[in-house]
């Protein structure tokens, strides 16, 4: 009896010792229930290989995620590892919540060269790294091959230009009312839907030093008016009907638009639709300015004020596991089809997208975009606020109720005030 009691006591002491030796870190991310399941599987895999570290997940729906993250940090409950949408990266950076990991990357010899370089840039500020790319996502031009075939138009090559694009879009446009087919369809909800076109005209959202609004220049307003004219002649479908990207996709699947912008996740969605044949292209620029395809990468970062050294080390281990090249996270995310590869690896693309279905050129075109045609957004603190000013004005321009110069001039003081403040 005494022996048994002694053994039980020893066991208890052992368990409590093991528990006290275990470091707990908190990991915040967004996602729907499926995505949360993927993250939990990855956490399980990490805990299995790192029995001394326990990861507590904090899962929030995307719409509320960044506000919740702010509240957690403000309330002293900051997660140790957190995902940040690149739109908010500068906002969080400004608060001092993100840790500079440049030295750790160097010390642990994380091979940054393996990443798609356009994606990597979104986690850099003043030459220092504040996270690793969570998902590098170029915005491809999705080409509906059936619409092209029906119109007798050949699929263009990656080096196509804006003029080729407009010419092709016009060739694809036909019909009236319910039978209307437009060459191109885009939403009017986000800056990334039109900025490539402005880039092609040699203009940008901001001035080079990002201190002033850039869409008031004659070059930029001319391009915006040109887009409005293409909408008016129905070469571009009326963006007002695309209340979200799902509607855009629906029109694409039904062959009512020949081309649209989309991210890698749209590839998976389209592969689920039977009989949709499509291919991918970079966004068309000009011979002088070919790099107008938006490449955006969300970030996974560490909290800057982790006090406990053991906890900080555990958080870094987890970050590496998730997103460093060659670490298990990359493969686990691919298998779960949660995100496209961050690194240039054809095998990973084959796992992410079904290689037996269209498009057949996803890896190749991604490589081209990252090498030649890609460009990152000029992200700034206050990006979503600026977007909230620009897009409603642009909707008026697209609707033909005001010209671009007037519309952009109206919001210039407010945008400049945000830029000056942030």
């Amino acid at each position: 009896m005494v022996k048994r009691l002694g053994l039980a006591l020893l066991l208890l002491v052992g368990i409590s010792f093991a528990l006290s030796a275990q470091t707990t870190i908190k990991y915040a991310f967004w996602g729907n229930p499926d995505a949360i399941g993927v993250e939990k599987d990855i956490i399980d895999a990490f805990e299995e290989s790192h029995p001394d570290i326990k990861v507590t997940p904090i899962a929030v729906a995307y719409g509320d995620y960044h506000a919740k993250l702010q509240i957690l940090i403000a309330g002293g409950q900051a997660p140790d590892v957190m995902r940040v949408d690149s739109y908010f990266f500068q906002d969080f950076l400004k608060t001092g919540a993100l840790k500079d990991i440049t030295a750790q990357l160097k010390a642990d010899k994380v091979d940054l060269a393996k990443y798609y370089q356009t994606g990597l840039q979104d986690s850099v500020n003043a030459g220092k790294y504040y996270g690793l790319p969570w998902a590098t996502a170029p915005l491809y031009v999705f080409v509906n091959t059936k619409v092209f075939k029906d119109a007798g138009v050949a699929i263009p090559k990656s080096n196509w230009t804006w003029d080729d694009f407009v010419k092709i879009a016009r060739q694809l446009t036909k019909g009236e009312g319910e039978n209307q087919v437009s060459g191109y369809g885009m939403t009017a909800l986000e800056i990334n839907q039109f900025l490539s076109m402005v880039w092609g005209a040699g203009e940008d959202l901001f001035t080079k030093d990002k201190s002033k609004f850039g869409l008031t220049t004659p070059g930029a307003t001319k391009k915006l008016d040109e887009i409005a004219a293409l909408i008016k002649e129905k070469t571009f479908a009326d963006p007002a009907i695309f209340t979200n990207t799902d509607v855009n996709m629906r029109y694409f699947v039904q062959g009512k638009i020949g081309m649209m912008l989309g991210a890698a996740s749209s590839i998976l969605s389209l592969q689920k639709s039977e009989g949709v044949d499509f291919t991918l292209l970079p966004f068309p620029g000009t011979a002088k300015i070919p790099n107008v395809t938006i490449s955006k990468s969300n970030i996974i970062a560490l909290y800057s004020k982790i006090k406990d050294a053991k906890q900080a080390a555990a958080a870094w281990e987890f970050l590496k596991f998730l997103r460093a090249p060659g670490e298990p996270g990359e493969l686990l995310y691919m298998k779960a089809k949660r995100m496209p590869p961050n690194v240039d690896d054809l095998a990973l693309w084959d796992i992410y997208a079904d290689s037996t279905k269209p498009p057949k050129n996803v890896a190749a075109v991604t490589k081209e975009i990252n090498a030649k045609y890609g460009r990152i957004l000029p992200l700034r603190a206050g990006w979503t606020e600026i977007q909230g000013l620009v897009m409603p004005q642009l909707q008026k321009v697209y609707a033909g109720s005001v010209d671009a110069a007037t519309a952009m001039k109206e919001i210039e003081p407010q945008v400049n005030a945000i830029l000056a403040k942030k």
């Binding site: 960044h66 506000a67 702010q70 509240i71 608060t95 009907i241 606020e385």
Partner: protein, 293 residues
């Protein structure tokens, strides 16, 4: 120390109200007061608040977007409340007067939208009002009428939102009107009939004054609710196109939780509070002239 019976009673009373008062003070009174102080600061939730005085309020009144949202909210409130009240009174009166077979069915059917989730309601209406594939446009086309850009035209979208809001609130108002109508004494109708009053005269001189307390209640609550419209506009149009359906509550949400400008968002909330307070005060004062007591 012995307590008197009245003291014991008082302590028991305080003990009874303690749970609700704690909740009220902690989750309502404190945030209301705190948000006023927040409205006097620039605060992004993480860094320490910086005192801004009345800067947020000055900025607000100079912000064209605020005036757009205020105009949209006022337009929405005016027409949603007016149509909502008129239609619900008409339907309540119709059911009350004609007492049709299956009256319970009509009442339940009209009340159904009230108990449905507003998100589900908005999503269904979004499909119905879809410009290209929506059933409403399909029906219009079947009778030879052109499609209407219900949710995609800045000139039409807010009216579509009003349509959905009215459809949703009509049942609730109607139930209150029905209860009020049931309380109007039959003798008054008999007397009115003996005096040879027409249906309109009977309604105007008998029914309307006697249901005025219910009308006043519905008017006040509907206006307060309409100034706080958020869910339907967010799901149906997300404030677009071209800000034509953006409202003050959406502006608060955007500034607070998308742009992380808590001070500015609190400032808008206080201005909205002031607007609702003034309207309710005016309604209460004016009601003394027309509400039957």
């Amino acid at each position: 120390m012995t307590l008197s019976a009245s003291q014991k009673e008082a302590i028991a009373g305080y003990a009874f109200i303690l749970p609700i008062m704690s909740g009220f003070l902690l989750f309502l009174a404190f945030p209301v007061v705190a948000s006023f102080f927040v409205s006097l600061a620039d605060w992004n939730l993480i860094n320490d608040p910086e005192f801004a005085g009345i800067g947020n309020y000055i900025q607000l009144f100079q912000d064209p977007f605020f005036w757009t949202c205020l105009k949209n909210t006022a337009y929405f409130s005016l027409f949603a409340v007016l149509f909502g009240m008129f239609l619900s009174l008409y339907l309540a009166n119709l059911i009350h007067e004609t007492k049709p077979k299956g009256a319970s069915f009509f009442k339940s059917s009209l009340f159904l939208p009230v108990i449905l989730s507003s998100v589900a309601v908005a999503l269904v209406w979004q499909w119905l009002l879809d410009g290209q594939m929506g059933m409403i446009n399909h029906l219009l086309n079947m009778v030879g009428l052109p499609s209407v850009p219900w949710l995609t035209s800045p000139a039409v979208a807010l009216n579509s939102v009003i349509l959905v809001a009215v459809w949703r609130q009509i049942g609730y108002n109607m139930v209150i009107f029905l209860a009020a109508l049931a309380n109007v004494p039959d003798e008054l109708y008999e007397a009115s009939s003996l005096d040879g009053a027409s249906r309109f005269q009977t309604f105007w001189n008998v029914t309307w004054p006697l249901i005025s307390p219910a009308t006043f209640f519905i008017a006040v609550t509907s206006i307060i609710n309409s100034f706080q419209v958020f869910d339907i506009t967010t799901i149906l149009t997300n404030g677009g196109p071209a800000n034509s359906t953006n409202t003050l509550i959406m502006m608060i949400y955007q500034n607070g939780f998308q742009f992380f400008k808590m001070g500015y968002a609190s400032g808008i909330a206080y201005v909205l509070f002031g607007i609702i307070l003034i309207i309710t005060a005016i309604q209460t004062i004016v009601s003394k002239r027309w509400v039957h007591s």
